[in-house]
């Protein structure tokens, strides 16, 4: 067991003929992911890395019983691609693409909500379940080991850093989810916590947050009320100045809101220790498990 992605997940890649789609569909297959088809409108009938390409998501889904989609389509077309995946009942839909206009993101998120579809991202490294050898995204699979800890994060390489630290300490992962670095994302931190809380094999959680918004505060409020298993946090951007976007569109302190201090306090108040350094996450987990 794990959340959202397991051994039965059958994946299509939207935008498979582009350079990112081509590169990462190969990497996903190599890791073990069941990549069953690709979609690029106008390129139907071709093949990429031995994966058949279709003109539409519906055709690809029908031909291969696909269940989920990973989107590498360029930003101007990513919203449309996601709506197509939602319409075809694929779930989850992982939007790797960065720089999607926020208006498009909001439409996709609400179209998905109406259908019960989980959107991961946009601007995410994706989702990985090491125990099922399935990754729907661009993360280096080898840094994630199978185990009992859930990992959710708003960033990419920082997640790899923390996952690598956990792996070195002998702590594995049920599922790791990149929630995305944009202000508006599909699956939120608190929704991810809720999913993991119901997952019987998840024995602890790691929340990797960053400045901007109040996703971590909301997750903390939920944890305080409902979560009994150990949770460890890390917040990036303790020293970030207000008013500057720190790489991610969503990573910005606006006025006095979205600071690392407020997030750390909220998590601590919920009984969640927050690591000072990425390497402390594994140490704190060891103490708590």
């Amino acid at each position: 067991m794990a959340v959202l992605v397991d051994k039965d997940t059958r994946v299509i890649i939207q935008g498979i003929t582009g350079s990112q789609g081509t590169f990462h569909s190969a990497a996903m297959k190599e890791y073990g992911t069941r990549v069953v088809a690709g979609v690029t409108p106008g390129k139907g009938g071709t093949e990429v890395n031995g994966v058949p390409v279709y003109d539409s998501v519906k055709e690809a889904r029908d031909a291969h019983d696909a269940t989920a989609s990973v989107i590498f389509v360029p930003a101007p077309f990513a919203g449309d691609a996601a709506l197509e995946a939602i319409a075809a009942n694929l779930n989850p839909v992982v939007i790797i693409t960065e720089h999607v206009p926020v208006r498009d993101e909001m439409r996709v998120i609400h179209a998905a909500a109406a259908k019960g579809t989980t959107i991961i991202g946009p601007n995410t490294p994706g989702i990985i379940t090491p125990g099922a050898r399935q990754k729907l995204g661009i993360m280096p699979g080898h840094v994630f080991a199978d185990g009992p800890v859930a990992l959710m994060s708003r960033s990419g390489t920082l997640t790899y850093e923390i996952a690598a630290g956990m792996t070195n300490a002998g702590i594995g992962i049920t599922t790791a989810i990149g929630l995305g670095g944009d202000p508006c994302v599909g699956l939120t931190t608190v929704e991810a916590v809720r999913l993991f809380e119901k997952d019987p094999v998840t024995k602890a959680m790691v929340i990797v947050g960053e400045i901007g918004g109040d996703a971590e505060e909301r997750a903390a409020a939920y944890i305080k009320e409902y979560v009994d298993i150990p949770v460890v946090g890390f917040i990036a951007g303790r020293t970030a100045p207000p008013g500057k976007r720190m790489g991610h569109v969503g990573a910005i302190i606006s006025g006095s809101s979205g600071t690392a201090a407020a997030k750390i306090k909220a998590l601590n108040d919920a009984g969640v220790p927050v690591a000072e350094k990425p390497s402390d996450v594994a140490r704190l987990l060891k103490e708590m498990l």
């Binding site: 994060s153 990419g156 202000p183 939120t188 303790r238 020293t239 500057k244 720190m246 790489g247 569109v249």
Partner: protein, 382 residues
């Protein structure tokens, strides 16, 4: 976020049928005088700068005569507000104010919806208002597939305490703001204050309009019309953005060059934890090749505050051998005259370390060691 000047935003407001005070832009005191003459009444002269709090900084002044308008325009045009030069002023009719109102639309990142905000207590910033009189803030979330409806705008006006004909008059401002939001991928727009005059007219006295950078490709005509770069940048910021690198300058002296925004932020924090201060946030992005790494180092070194460089790479789609080649090339081509600490793990780690070894460049394998080392080196050189 592309921010529009007040006068640019007001041009758009007027195109959507929203009343604004009569007036025009002036770039010299003489032009300001002419604008005031055209208006023929007492005027307000306002600095056109892309920053808040210009009133408190002295960037808004009244003038009873055209001569006086020229005089205050001259003062304002020589000011710097929040370190930004004032290149133009907006000269407008001074209004006979009965009430100051707030109207705005922004994005709520939790609801992931637009939110329309109104208040009968305008004039101060919405943050101040939220702190002091939260009960006076009226909010409506916009249903994504319905859009903002006329009845909702009227309900807001009623909740804000208006009655009779004023309800529809005020509601039309909210509806027009909504149309502008939809037309231009607006992230934030505000009319603060929206003025109700003593003779019963509603006018947008100020205008704020910020457009989503990610949607600018849909608004090329607007950018062309505005005849300026979407964002004000210095040379280093401009070069970084041309290369697609996220680059932020800070007050310290250690340039942090990393891959990934979260890792870069965490590296800045690690430097601070060891008693140092970062000068630079530079995210190379994913899959940087040698040339990109070299360019990143070059851009970082252009900032005079930099006394040392910390390169922290967690290889995934970024390959350590490429990073190492970039570092060696940067040192060979441009020369790196400040201490440099490298931490590099992940994809092709061994190949990368071999390249650095051969070039005699030391490297470390943990973030903490690297952060501690670079802080130590900066202390030695300063």
């Amino acid at each position: 976020m592309m921010k529009l000047f007040e006068h640019e935003a007001k041009d758009i407001f007027r195109n959507f049928g929203m009343p604004t005070p009569p007036g025009g832009v002036a770039r010299t005191p003489e032009e300001a005088k002419k604008r005031a003459e055209e208006i023929g009444k007492p005027v307000v002269v306002k600095a056109q700068v892309l920053t808040g709090k210009r009133g408190k900084a002295g960037g808004v002044k009244f003038a009873d005569t055209p001569k006086e308008a020229a005089k205050v325009a001259k003062q304002i045009l020589t000011m710097r507000i929040n370190d930004l030069p004032v290149e133009a002023v907006l000269v407008e009719e001074k209004l006979d104010i009965a009430q100051e109102i707030y109207a705005g639309i922004t994005i709520d990142r939790n609801e992931r919806k637009y939110v329309v905000i109104g208040s009968s207590a305008g004039g101060m910033s919405i943050e101040e208002l939220a702190a002091e009189q939260p009960e006076k803030i009226i909010k409506r979330y916009v249903e994504p597939f319905l859009g903002f409806q006329p009845f909702e705008a009227r309900e807001m006006a009623i909740a804000m305490g208006f009655n009779g004909k004023d309800i529809s008059k005020l509601a039309s401002f909210f509806l027009k703001l909504w149309k502008i939001v939809e037309a231009y991928d607006v992230e934030l727009t505000e009319i603060n204050p929206l003025i109700l005059t003593k003779d019963g007219r509603f006018l947008a006295a100020d205008a704020r309009l910020n457009i989503d950078d990610n949607a600018l490709y849909r608004h090329k005509d607007l950018i062309e019309k505005l005849k300026r770069e979407p964002v004000e940048q210095n040379e280093r910021e401009r070069r970084a953005s041309e290369e697609g690198m996220a680059y932020v300058e800070l007050d310290g002296d250690i340039a942090c060059i990393c891959n990934g925004a979260g890792l870069t932020m965490a590296t800045l924090d690690a430097v601070a934890l060891h008693g140092g201060r970062a000068s630079t946030f530079l995210d190379l992005g994913g899959g940087a090749d040698a040339e990109r790494v070299e360019k990143g180092i070059e851009i970082a070194l252009m900032y005079p505050k930099v006394k040392a460089i910390l390169i922290n790479i967690m290889g995934g789609i970024t390959r350590c051998d490429e990073v190492a080649k970039g570092i060696v090339a940067a040192r060979k081509e441009k020369g790196i005259d400040v201490p440099m600490v490298i931490r590099m793990v992940g994809t092709n780690e061994e190949e990368g370390q071999k390249i650095l070894n051969e070039a005699g460049i030391p490297f470390l394998s943990t973030m903490e060691e690297a952060a501690s080392k670079v802080v130590e080196l900066v202390k030695e050189v300063s």
